[in-house]
């Protein structure tokens, strides 16, 4: 389906805000270096994108929380002229317009980039990097989180993903990296999708990936779903049409995020 550039940038901005930046939560929790960086930060950053989404990063008590809309009492407000401006910022090609928090410039220009550089490091795997188990695990965790959050954005905004959502009336899918790896859930209800971290009770379908390597290969499209399931690298149960729709939506992610 033909996409207008503005629509593309808008979808991408939503994905960057809700799916990519969301991974800062994981990086601060699971990467010791990132945890050390953020340990003493007490900041609430509002991203406002003109004709686009708004979202926030909150650093408090050594943790990072990423969400939609305005945080309470933002210490920093960053404005973007358009979704394309925000996307260029995410690519390191543009700067935001600070509207509040001029006294926090050092945090914005020195401290925060150290953390976002760590995120970028974990989001750009190479074959050599993924040979190291701790890297593989965190990269897989981030990919799974991105996938879940991206599904909810795409299900609302991407025309082809919306067609896939329309095939499903309702249902809940739990996705997990076995045996004790990260889990996410995706819920379909009345033409809408929600997603979150962790598992929900009584899912309509389950998708369980046998280990971090299988999960990484599967989520990054190096393993097609049919082969993965038939060979037992990915275990599926329950209402499989939900998983088929989910798979179609997941396949839309690379259109926007490489």
């Amino acid at each position: 389906m033909g996409r207008q550039p503005k629509e593309y940038e808008l979808i991408k901005a939503n994905l960057n805000l809700q799916a990519v930046l969301k991974n800062l939560e994981e990086v601060v929790e699971f990467d010791p270096e990132s945890a050390a960086l953020a340990r003493t930060w007490e900041e609430a950053i509002l991203f406002r994108v003109h004709h686009g989404p708004s979202g926030h990063l909150v650093f408090r008590d050594g943790r990072c929380t990423v969400g939609q809309g305005k945080p309470s009492r933002p210490s920093i407000v960053l404005f973007f002229l358009s979704p394309a401006h925000f996307n260029r910022m995410m690519e390191g090609k543009a700067k935001p317009i600070p509207l509040k928090g001029f006294s926090r410039l050092s945090f914005l220009t020195k401290d925060l980039p150290r953390l976002t550089n760590r995120l970028e490091y974990f989001l750009r795997p190479t074959p050599d990097l993924t040979k190291e188990q701790s890297y593989l695990e965190l990269n897989t965790r981030l990919t799974l989180t991105t996938a879940a959050m991206a599904v909810s954005v795409l299900g609302a905004l991407d025309p082809l993903a919306r067609l896939a959502v329309a095939q499903v009336s309702r249902g809940l899918v739990n996705l997990k990296v076995l045996p004790r790896g990260p889990e996410v859930w995706v819920g379909f209800e009345g033409g809408r999708i929600e997603a979150g971290k962790g598992a929900k009770e009584r899912p309509s379908a389950r998708m369980e990936m046998k280990g971090y390597q299988a999960a990484n290969d599967f989520l990054n499209g190096r393993l097609d779903p049919f082969t993965a399931v038939a060979s037992g690298q990915v275990l599926v149960k329950g209402q499989l049409p939900l998983l088929e729709s989910l798979s179609l939506i997941l396949d839309r992610i690379p259109v926007y995020l490489s």
Binding site: M1, L160, A161, L163, A164, A166, Q167, R202, P203, S204, A205, R206, D224, P225, F226, T227, V229, A230, S231, G232, L235, V236, K237, G238, Q239, L240, P241, L248, D251
Partner: protein, 412 residues
Amino acid sequence: MKTYNYFKSQDLFKRAARVIPCGIYGHLSPAPLVPPASYPFYVDRAKGSRFWDVDGNEFIDYMCAYGPMVLGYGYEPVDSAARKQAMAVNCATAPGPVMVELAEYLVALIPAAGWVFFAKNGGDVTSYALMVARAATGRKKVVMIKGGYHGVAPWAQLPGNHGLTEEDYLNGIRIGWNDFEALEKAWDQNPDQIAAFMATPYHHPTFADSELPAEGYWAKVEAFCKRKGIVLIIDDVRAGFRLDLRGSNEYFGFKPDLICFCKALANGHPISALVGSEALKSIAAKVFYTGSYWFSAGPMAAALATLKELERIDGPGLMAAAGQRLTGGLKDLARAHGFDLKVSGHPAMPYLRLTDDESLMLHQEWCGECTRRGAYFTSHHNWFLSAAHTEEDIQRTLEIADQAFKAVKERF
């Protein structure tokens, strides 16, 4: 009771995955067989109602190759007819006389048929049927049922599937089964644009119960289509020759303009057929549609032999009776174990579902446990009975199912 292992199947699959997309693609993909570890992936040989996989495991087959097997694997009268024909000629530069004999037989057998067109697969004839409808009406759109399946041509696939363009599915309108008002609404929203209404004679989706037509549904649909000049196409690919040899529409008491047949037509030999009303014959003749193997004489001889055998033995009657005995026995067993097993659809091709778990996971486990003990059940698709399923098969199946219920009861 022994449970099966599938080492050779799995080794073969690993080789397949290196050189074939998906390893095994399409409707035979193991992906919907949950869990795949309970299912064989490759068949070595088959006879009657049974097949043996490459690991030597024996199965009573309740999928019948997803429909084509209707008299039994290796059914001698059919195979010898095909062999005899093929030894004379199969695929040649002109068709054989058997093409005429088969067409005449089908026209005599099927009241709705004024003519016949042969192809290879069900999807060939559903696509041809749509083309004929478009040529006859000058209209583009086709109304289909949500959850219905008419093959894999782009027009028949769901919007959003890989490999499709917007133009491929823009002319498809999907409505609910048994929802006559939705058909009227589709017409009101697309006046004079609907070329065809295409549906199976009753609704047999995957992952959901089958649904028979409501009282008066087909009469209303048939009358509406006549009034509005919509070509009524019945996709009898799956149900054809199992409910009624004259066409499943006869079983439900209505007369379509076009009927698509495949699967059971030739007991597994590759052939499909579109039959149509006399009124559509000359426009059908104007639609150019063909295929290299569509005139092959061997499958035509097999089809003729299959239809004659089915008539001789009352194949539909045998299959319905076997289906009743099987599903009745399974329901009783389920109840005895504290489960509720729902049976829907026609007895010759029932869909079963353990209702105790809405997610289908319990049902998937039970079907898997039955399969790895030798009764091949799928959890996502209707089953098929054949004229080859014997009382001994059914008794053995019930013993297997009993053990499978015990196995899943421990886990659920």
